[in-house]
Symmetry: C2
Subunit: 347 residues, 2 copies
């Protein structure tokens, strides 16, 4: 289902970004470079958020409008830009199966014999992300449907909240304090639930004119689906296949991410094991053997089974919300399919 929507968005970007390139040409020579890299980076993504905007729009309307595509594209542009900034913060070198944008520019800096090419790459990466935000908001300002103001206000409000959750998340990577289960679930709720699922669903429905009480159900549904999505992401980070996820395993361990998996692992392990874990988590130079130690311990202590209890409950809740929406069969089915995809995906 989302693949179909991705196609629509890919063809939008294939037309839009070369046009932007032409427009920016008069400023300086960076135009071609940037627009080409941006196009590639966006197209490599799964476009789940943009896809959900369109999916949700089609709950109400029979056909996708130009405005819906613009909003979906804006959300993908802004999301890609947040990822570019994330990759700087996390020092990630791979994303979407290729070098991250800052890593690509670091390489260019190296080739040019620049002093401190890594900082050069990060600096261009910051501006690159900023550009993506502004392009996204420009698109948002071009939509013509009545609810435009409301949509823009809602999107920027949600994005503000994400940055606060992101700060807490970054801090968690540095801090030696353990987060409680509730703190972790709150980051999942704001960083993934509301941002990645509720927001696109609500935006699509708002554009199409869905009544307010249903928007509230979509919000709740999105939050829980998002937590499921994040838990899956955490699992894939440790147990996924690199050739599917597009990034090397275990980066969450190196970055000391306060995931739910890590939380239960610490909670269930002995003092001796905790000491070892403390040495491994947050250590950027860990070996494959050390990663294997963590994975084996997760298996031994049945941590995934513990997480499964949580996801089972969430799954039930989301199914209830889907029922509450009282959608026609075909649309209900599409939603259940998305839930299924979320639980089974390999990347």
């Amino acid at each position: 289902m989302l693949d179909l929507h991705k196609k629509v968005l890919v063809s939008f970007f294939n037309k839009y970004l070369p046009e932007k390139e032409k427009e920016y040409k008069k400023i300086n020579g960076w135009s071609e470079y940037i627009c080409t890299k941006l196009l590639q980076f966006i197209i490599n993504g799964k476009m789940i958020r943009g896809g959900l905007v369109l999916r949700s729009y089609l709950f109400i309307k029979d056909n996708i409008s130009e405005d819906a595509i613009k909003v979906a594209a804006a959300i993908e542009l802004i999301h890609s830009s947040l990822l570019i900034h994330d990759d700087i913060m996390d020092k990630d070198k791979f994303r979407r199966g290729e070098k991250t944008i800052p890593a690509q520019f670091s390489e260019i800096g190296e080739k040019q014999n620049y002093l401190n090419p890594e900082h050069f790459g990060n600096s261009i990466g910051i501006s690159f992300g900023d550009l993506g935000f502004f392009m996204g908001f420009e698109l948002l300002s071009q939509i013509k449907e009545v609810s435009e103001n409301k949509v823009n206000e809602f999107i920027s409000g949600e994005l503000s909240k994400v940055t606060l959750a992101q700060m807490q998340d970054v801090d968690g990577g540095y801090s030696k304090d353990e987060f409680s289960e509730n703190e972790i679930l709150s980051i999942y709720k704001y960083k993934t639930g509301r941002y990645s699922i509720s927001t696109p669903l609500i935006v699509g429905a708002m554009l199409a004119g869905m009544p307010n009480h249903n928007l509230r159900t979509l919000e709740n549904l999105g939050e829980d689906l998002g937590i499921l999505f994040q838990i899956k992401d955490d699992e894939l980070n440790l147990f996924g296949k690199k050739n599917k996820t597009g990034k090397p395993n275990g980066s969450d361990i190196r970055e000391n991410k306060k995931t739910l998996l890590r939380h239960f692992l610490y909670k269930s392990s002995s003092k001796e094991q905790q000491k070892k874990l403390r040495f491994i988590f947050g250590n950027s130079n860990i070996s494959k053997v050390q990663i294997k130690y963590v994975l084996d311990l997760i298996k031994e202590l049945k941590i995934r089974e513990r997480i499964k209890e949580i996801t089972n409950k969430l799954e039930k809740k989301t199914k209830n919300y889907i029922d509450e929406l009282k959608l026609p069969d075909k649309q209900k089915h599409a939603f259940l399919e998305f839930l299924e995809y979320n639980l089974e995906r390999k990347k």
Copy 2:
């Protein structure tokens, strides 16, 4: 004149940011922290861009509207956020008379014994700037006047262009290639002229309903005023008083900024002198003696006099544009005053 407008904006922010703090409190504990620091950072600024929005609005209307204040505040929020990102790229530690935002968080990281506190400070700084953008666009989506769409589209379009000029500027700091006078003036035009002066002037006038042909004149006027503003900034960076500018002298030398001053200095100096300059520019550990060498050479080779020829021409052009606008005496006077301020300012 701009001081008066700053007062209006300060009182807006004194109300707005504590409100936002309350709203964000439900997400996590970063809310109070961030909103307090953001308020301080914004208030420490000169608020020239926001002031110009209000100034320009008053060319047409007799009283400032709530919408005009919101747009002016949005532009200040977005500008402050760009500066926070700039300070990461330039590794600047002081801004607006205090530690930069990333430097403030680096210090916090140090106190918490975080590994790599500088990267921690930069990471929070990136998110902090992103938050400011989103808050700004949220405000922009709340305005109610007819031209709202047009205003938002124009602002985000101009901001996109700034990021491209910024990339070129960052690259210039690393690259050993010299920029031509035209390349430098193009960066000045987009990074300062259009962004800092034309855009706020046009936005204020758009909101107030100024006719299109006058908008075009404002655009040209802003570009030239902006180049004058940037040239003054370059001079203050080398010859200003730290207690007035709020940052230590000579950071442009350390960062190898491709300024017009530097351009003419290289052009006018002997091979021997160029060799020395090449060693000094872009060297982050230069001594006061080396900075003095550059300043003395600028005096000896009469570089400021050469720049003065350019600024004289620009001054004349801007005065013609001001005439073209056919403003009432009081408003024309305010404009000439701003030009004067621009030429004479000490910070």
